[in-house]
Symmetry: C2
Subunit: 601 residues, 2 copies
């Protein structure tokens, strides 16, 4: 199979042993599926990763999109991949049967996306965007919009996008100024500028369907005046032909990495002939987007984890095969050198990567399972899962993204000078993964979302539910001899997270909003570490359960490696919480208080 990208064994462990994918088949929504089907889907994803995505991984980076002759020229594989993912039902994998979808659990498809991302993140993005755009239309659009756009998007014939960002607004969606003027027809006239729009124009597709935020003329200021539109690159005439819709590409960006996917600047309505079709009700655009955002953010983080996984296995392969140096305790220079995996510091760098990757994937599958549980449950239960997903999402976006950058960097470091050169893929992973703390809401935005919105919402109810979930895992782990240390440490960390949260909420209650939110990012970091520790304890407990059973040697090694990596996380990563707790307790709102003049020189 050549280059290992992910551990299939580990994914099956998470899907079946930790998150019990099969249990979903007891719900009416997923009752037509069974483990055999899941396995076929899984194995097909692995095959596509190697056959379709991986071969053009470096090539798409070396030949990035070019904007010339008014076209965004992309690698020829873009069209092939988009169509094959359409034909294979991957774009519509989670959509209901009645829309032509596969109605597969998110838990499973998240694992497949992770596999695709590990093989070629840039190439995987096109189809993910289609799924997201279709989901918005499906959830809030009219039947006409559904009938007109969804089939082509699902087939991979047309490209879907999310068009939010504008030059003057950036992360501040309040300041969006793209205008939508009502007409006496079924459309609005759109004018404005959009920047940093992924895959917003390219030669790999016949048409592009933008799900675009804009303000209807006369709408209230701020976020309460934002509406959602479908704005196609080419609109459909009554006779079915496609004509230009005055959506113009102003340029593309030259990026550090993630080069297989064009990021486009759009200029709308230069000839005053750009038509937009309202999705749902006016002025509700942002709330529609927010309902999709959890999934978009999880997708982005899956990408980061996928890249980090591929980087981990590339560095592991190098570490196993590169002889250099001797054991620290055996310095005889005439003895043969050993593979560098024998050096404790190299093992440390490998454990770190695996702890980040497996921890991130677990957290992302946990969130994906909550997405499924929201779909299959009702009433109070549905609300409970929704709140858990809500509060986990900022950390599920951020931990894999921020730690993914560090993880790939350690992978690169394992190769020394070779890691810095393009003979090995590490340098590309290093460039590619750096986008993740930026796109789909920067880490700063995630921090504000967690502390300013999620922790406080419903009177702290989501936070309590989260604590309950973690405590449940602690209580279970306490019953396994050998996990006492870990259960104890997680309980202690959770306690301190609770104390810090209470401390911050007291600041909020006193009305010091700036100070309350000043350390939202370190708070998010603490929350992320505790959350991934929880995911590691779940994995440790699942691994522990089978320890006593009669296992093959390979299986025994897998579970032992899993338990060692959990132990690594608890002894090397979780301690970082100590420093963060101290920071959050002693910072005294320094960054809120500091005057701009501090930075005069």
């Amino acid at each position: 199979m050549g280059d290992k990208l992910v551990s299939e064994r580990n994914l099956r462990f998470l899907l079946y042993e930790v998150f019990d994918l099969e249990s979903l088949t007891h719900c009416p929504m997923y009752e037509e599926h069974n483990k055999e089907i899941f396995e076929i889907v899984f194995e097909t994803a692995v095959k596509m990763a190697y056959d379709l995505f991986l071969p053009c991984f470096a090539e798409m980076d070396r030949n990035p999109p070019e904007f010339s002759d008014n076209e965004v020229k992309v690698h020829p594989m873009v069209s092939t991949i988009l169509k094959q993912l359409g034909e294979g039902g991957w774009i519509s994998a989670n959509a209901p049967f009645e829309l032509g979808g596969q109605q597969l659990p998110h838990l499973l498809t998240a694992a497949c996306r992770f596999i695709f991302s590990a093989a070629n993140y840039s190439a995987s993005v096109y189809a993910f965007l289609n799924t997201g755009a279709a989901h918005l239309i499906e959830s809030f659009g009219s039947q006409e919009l559904i009938d007109t756009y969804i089939p082509k998007i699902f087939e991979g014939e047309w490209q879907g996008t999310m068009a939010l960002t504008e030059p003057q607004a950036g992360s501040s969606l309040t300041d969006i100024s793209t205008r939508a003027v009502p007409t006496d027809q079924d459309y609005y006239r759109i004018s404005g500028q959009k920047i940093f729009i992924s895959a917003a124009d390219h030669t790999g597709t016949e048409n592009v369907v933008h799900l675009m935020l804009a303000k209807i003329k006369g709408a209230p200021p701020g976020v309460k005046g934002i509406s959602l539109f479908v704005v196609p690159k080419k609109r459909i005439e009554k006779d079915g032909s496609l004509v230009s819709n005055d959506v113009n590409t102003a340029g593309i960006y030259h990026k550090l990495g993630y080069r297989g996917s064009p990021i486009v600047q759009l200029s709308l309505g230069e000839r005053d002939d750009c038509r937009g079709y309202l999705v749902g009700e006016p002025n509700k655009g942002l709330s529609y987007m927010f309902q999709m955002m959890n999934e978009g953010r999880i997708d982005v983080a899956i990408g980061a984890a996928g890249i980090a996984s591929a980087a981990y296995y590339a560095s592991l392969e190098y570490a196993k095969t590169r002889p250099q140096g001797r054991k620290l305790s055996a310095k005889d220079p005439t003895s043969p050198p050993v593979p560098i995996i024998n050096h404790p510091d190299v093992k440390r760098m490998l454990f770190f990567q695996r702890a980040v990757v497996d921890g991130s994937v677990a957290l992302l599958l946990q969130c994906s399972k909550y997405v499924d549980m929201i779909k299959v449950s009702e009433g109070e239960e549905k609300e409970r899962y929704s709140m858990l997903l809500d509060i986990l999402t900022p950390a599920a976006k951020t931990y894999p993204s921020e730690m993914g950058v560090l993880s790939v960097s350690q992978g690169l470091q394992c190769l020394g000078g070779y890691g810095y050169c393009d003979e090995f893929p590490l340098e590309q992973y290093y460039r590619d993964v750096r986008i993740h703390p930026i796109h789909e809401g920067t880490t700063g935005i995630q921090g504000l979302d967690l502390l300013g919105r999620k922790v406080t919402m419903n009177n702290g109810r989501a936070f309590s539910l989260y604590i309950d979930e973690v405590e449940k895992a602690v209580r279970k782990a306490e019953t396994f001899p050998g996990l006492e240390f870990h259960a104890h440490r997680l309980r202690e960390s959770l306690e301190r997270l609770r104390d810090v949260t209470a401390h911050l909420l007291r600041i909020a209650d006193s009305g010091e909003t700036e100070r309350f939110l000043a350390d939202a990012v370190p708070y998010l970091e603490l929350f992320g570490i505790v959350t991934v520790a929880w995911q590691w304890l779940l994995q440790g407990s699942a691994a522990f359960r089978v320890q006593s059973e009669g296992l093959s040697e390979a299986e025994t090694r897998f579970y032992q490696g899993k338990l060692r990596t959990m132990d690594y996380f608890y002894r090397y990563e979780l301690p970082k919480a100590d420093g963060l707790v101290r920071l959050l307790t002693e910072s005294e709102g320094l960054t809120a208080k500091a005057e701009e003049s501090c930075f005069d020189d």
Copy 2:
């Protein structure tokens, strides 16, 4: 002046107010200098940074070296810069007057190198290499070698290099296999392969002089059999003409960053006609190299700090001018957006960068001052400074390099999506700075050097001297009201560093070498944080002293900014020591114990 690269005010603060550069003029070695001369040198360096180095910064990256027609073609500015640095006396800045040098303090020239690195690290490396090569010849070479090579190297006519690494050896110098066969002439016949040699061949120079490690036929195995040679690319005939010396370029590497400088693969003696001239005595090559290594490592770290400084000021400029969003406490969407520097989280990212940059520069100037003190002192005092330099060097190499990577990453993050695009220089800084934890000894090697060699050497004497220095700074800071918190925190951290060191030394005493050194890198990280906290306290104390004097408004703001950044370091960075202490106490030698089979899947 355009883009700000460094704070000249801060450099003068460090040079004159913290490290008292002028006091060096009381020593005979530096008595011919005075503050006016220092200022001329400093201002010339700033001017050259903007006029010579900066204009080709991006260009050299976009047009990296090419290997074709048996030549390594580099940017035309390489030759210009090398010669101008030669003519200006920069290459020989620290060399004694009698060798044609400027005999300037290292403290001052380190600051100048920092300025050059901030403007264009790749371009600055050529001349740094010359200084290092000349210093080796000057210290250990015969008068003939000195006369033959040093003038041309100092003039920037010839390129000097350090040729250590080999394909099968990497960081393990023990395994060097380049051979030197004695002849009946004054030279050895050299044959072998060298890889990753910076500037080892290029069109910007007439000749290249390699300071090369090789093993003389019949030498003892391991590091005790390594000798040092001068191996020129072209050797000098009796009539003064240059002829090929059978030093062949096998290729160059295509790198993530640091692209202005070619990294070359050499093949020596393919026609059995490569002559090498022994430097000093046989089999002492590694000890000669080690004596230079402190300075080489400090140079590399200066490069990292320089890049991080340029990245900091680029992100600061953006943060001051980019309007986006509103104060967290004033969400009225009709109010105008504020520059993002108003957001506490952006201030956090700026403080982080400045804390890393100023802290790193302080540490590197501290080391450079020790280099000067070693030169100007004798006997016990000289030994004391040597030991302080020895024990500080691994952290002085690593903290700026590892934290420089994170610092530049935060700079990039300040720009959001723009940071990821090549319209701004952040993405290049991000690529460039990643070399620093690798070259001139990886972080792993630095960890082993600190814990395995420096902490234990002379019965722990260097470590005690280090503790004394830090304690002295604590006692002084305790006398300033307003620094009690910081003095107290540093004392506490130092205490814990001492405890952890004792804990690790007990493991060493028990004979568990693997386990003792397994966590050398986290130990180095802890040591680095405490060390930089010490440097921040020195800066805080210096800033505090002048607080009460009648100062201009700009000066007041400078000192306030300095104190705020120190406060940031103590409240946001120093707490990381807590987690590292716990890790080092509770790791139980996990990475030493873990079997390779853990990584089977």
